[in-house]
Symmetry: C2
Subunit: 491 residues, 2 copies
């Protein structure tokens, strides 16, 4: 492909992306394809001869688009959002035209430098303590692929710090703490590293938040059993219900365990710290006082295209002590002198993409105000949704609504004597109806044995009428589920 | 930014990328900026109010471009190449317009399905054994970010298999083997996982390749000492010199250790398997017979934009046994039934980008023939370069040239009595001169105490005249180094 062919294909790509967004609202949210649809449609081998790019671009429309789940669809309320903005696309486009593995400063100075700058910008807009800024040269921020990577990195750093201080402790004796509501990233970090994970119980009465007391009992038990607690992964805004672990209480307990690392996973909710009015609820003061590391994903609810997971640490030295391997062929004048950040020692892999560019584009193009407005718009939409659930005779909350998340279920006033098992069966039937629809995407979850449905708002194009329509759909399917139930049980 | 603004900004981005490539040859290869240049140029905080995108796009040209090292420059011969093709950029562009975290099939079916298909296409063009194909539903291929991630994954899978078979072995007793020439990814996997790494010696006489005998002695020693060998990372085409570990000999030894996983890292050289004439030299038959896992980076010498590291495993079950954590909110009809691949259980993180699209674009747009032509063009250029080094009175090889890599140093016939220390000093002075130039990028290395210079060909726009110019520059700087040396020592 020569330059002029690229120009044409590039213009066409831009136009087709515009067309995609113009038509997005009219598409089904979820793909209707069956497993294996694409293998059937494509040849078994790469073509021996070059094909015309127009054919390839057309095949993208024909075979790929129908197989996509449209996470940017205004009626996408499943999981948590995955961000996509035009500025983010442009950031990826420019970055993909100058690829480099970015493993150290000299591999491409602008990449490292812009990352150090935008990570300070984001730390600042979130209200993080200055000790997390790159300018301190003590703490600092780095872009990772996912919150799972961020948690894994924190765990590696914590383990390595712990083992340096306690060189004779066997790895089998180390314990990583999560709660039963922590994202599977905790369990995965344990699996990857071959370490014990203990998931602490939380209760519906406590809104699924970890209490200091629960942690205290567990730490005592484990230490008495000869185990070594070395990290706790706490969550601000759990995946299932938006629970906020009680960091203040946790810190009160943790202070007796000086080598217990506190990692705060705020993958989804963390970006809401951009709005001063949510800082208390998201426990910013405690994060600033106690967290050893803090993660939030701008690629979820933060307007920056996947991947854009931000990890801040109070002491970068814990990362580099754990991860630095600098062979001769990667030595460089500035790296050796310590005057520049060599980000490869801040994460698991070696190479890294130029992801800071999209941060720079989005933050400037929206401004802090624009960013705040987006967050508050989402929470207002959710407040409206939650209000309608609260008022309804059919539905009830399964957890306290938080920010842009409402977890609810059918709990009809007309059937007040249903057991948990019956209610779960009812709600599974209800959810099966929702999941079968292609005009809305919404996910299920389980809260301590209670089956429920999650509504997460955040697609950038979602507006009030989409939430109203979701309420209509949910109401209809709820009523239909109840009618069926009543018929089934002869009520 | 609305759709029409995006269209304009998108066209402009395409045009500016075209301009960049039109002017690339005339730019300095390496950035001339000093550490901290960007922080000084940018405001300390994100702007409160939205900025016009034109300003941002102009700032990219003004502040970012001058801070880039141009890995696509025709005179970039440093490290190994990092691929960039127009088709690759287009793949990234389309993919970035439909972001999704891709953690399982239903998150966006096309993403998983296309990945499974293109990983089979690539396995096939490289001549990998069918047992590595996804269609087997036993083995399979997956796109990872880097070769370091691939090796880490293989190590996790190997450890988990080993521990399942030997549940009472302490982690401190496990040993990962590499050679002294293995990329730092081996050491890093050890650091991340907290496991012992033993780097086996290799010699210049053996072209820095691992021999079976060396491995045999080490395994015996370690087992006698109560240790447990569980993985060997062998390399096809080492970073420093392109060495090829002797897989046949290794396999002969390894067969007595049934739980010793053989991971083959062919990050750079592996793509050359696309050409039948290099398969013997790259030991394809032994890879097909013995490797438990095999990795090559299409984002290095394989025309596909960073990141595009391919990992194939003979038994996918070893990955998923090691990594599967499926909480309720990620359960899905097809995943539970096992009818689809859930790629999140094939790597460390959870979310993943839609990277298969650029594979599909590049493989189709180039065709297998076009891909082969690119590889052979590069090796021909290197053959020419190597021939000129061989003929020269000033230079000598520090290792056997391989594919598109030549490692050489000053070893002037006029100064036949220099010691290794003196030659190293001479070559450090020589390399310092090369590194100070901005019209060529080339890197240093160390081979068992011998300081030398690496010339790696692979930027797509590199043609014969660029290699000729590199030879001129190298010759000039070599002569200047010698003159200075002679002056200094009064010769
Ligand atoms: C609280 C929380 N943490 C972590 C994650 C995982 O994020 P990632 O895919 O970036 O690993 C999620 C995903 O939804 C989440 O909700
Ligand atoms: C042989 C070899 N393996 C691995 C790597 C590391 O690759 P990555 O950056 O993808 O981890 C390199 C990089 O040059 C390499 O040459």
């Amino acid at each position: 492909m020569d330059i002029e062919q690229f120009r044409r294909a590039g213009y066409q790509a831009i136009d087709r992306i515009c067309d995609y967004y113009i038509s997005l609202r009219d598409r089904p949210v979820s793909s209707q394809v069956e497993p294996g649809y694409l293998r059937k449609a494509l040849p078994a081998s790469a073509p021996p001869e070059a094909e015309d790019f127009q054919l390839i671009a057309d095949d993208y429309q024909k075979y790929i688009i129908p197989g996509l789940t449209h996470w940017q669809h205004p009626s996408f309320f499943a999981y948590f959002p995955t961000a996509c903005t035009f500025e983010g696309i442009l950031g990826e486009l420019y970055a993909s035209s100058v690829p480099n593995p970015g493993f150290n400063w000299s591999a491409s100075p602008a990449c490292t430098e812009l990352e150090a700058v935008v990570m300070d910008w984001t730390a600042q807009i979130l209200g993080l303590d200055k000790s997390f800024y790159n300018t301190t040269e003590v703490g600092g921020g780095v872009i990772q692929t996912t919150a799972s990577d961020s948690a894994l990195i924190a765990t590696v750093a914590a383990r390595s710090r712990y083992i340096r201080e306690h060189p004779h402790v066997a790895m089998e004796k180390l314990v990583l703490y999560t709660t039963t509501q922590t994202h599977s990233l905790g369990k995965k970090a344990g699996l990857v590293l071959g370490l014990k994970v203990r998931a602490l119980e939380v209760t519906a009465e406590d809104d699924f938040a970890l209490r200091g007391e629960t942690l205290e009992v567990a730490l005592k038990e484990d230490v008495d059993a000869g185990l070594h607690p070395f990290i706790l992964v706490a969550t601000i805004g759990t995946t299932s219900s938006g629970a906020v672990d009680r960091l203040g209480e946790i810190a009160d307990v943790a202070k007796h365990y000086p080598f217990l690392w506190l990692h705060v996973d705020a993958a989804w909710a963390g970006v809401a710290l951009v709005c001063p009015e949510y800082r208390e609820a998201c426990q910013l003061p405690a994060i600033n006082a106690y967290a050893d590391s803090f993660c939030t994903n701008f690629h979820k609810w933060g307007l920056i295209n996947f991947d854009a997971s931000c990890l801040w640490v109070r002491h970068r030295k814990h990362l580099t002590d754990a991860l630095d391997v600098t062979p001769e062929f990667l030595r460089s004048k500035h790296g050796d002198a310590g005057t520049v950040i060599d980000y490869r020692n801040w994460h698991l892999g070696l190479g890294r993409r130029f992801r800071s560019l999209k941060f720079w584009f989005v933050l400037r193009s929206r401004g802090v105000n624009g960013f705040q407005r987006y967050i508050t718009d989402c929470t207002k939409l959710n407040a409206k949704f939650a209000e309608r659930i609260r008022e309804s005779d059919q539905f009830c909350f399964a957890a306290k609504p938080f920010l842009a998340l409402t977890v609810f279920r059918l709990g009809p006033k007309s059937l007040p004597h249903l057991t948990t098992l019956e209610l779960n069966a009812l709600n599974r039937a209800f959810y099966a109806r929702l999941a079968a629809r292609s005009d809305i995407a919404i996910t299920q979850t389980d809260l301590n044995g209670v089956f429920c449905v999650r509504m997460a708002i955040g697609a950038e194009k979602t507006v009030e009428k989409d939430v109203d329509r979701a309420l209509d759909v949910i109401g209809q399917e709820g009523r239909a589920t109840l009618r069926e139930w009543e018929r089934m049980w002869g009520l």
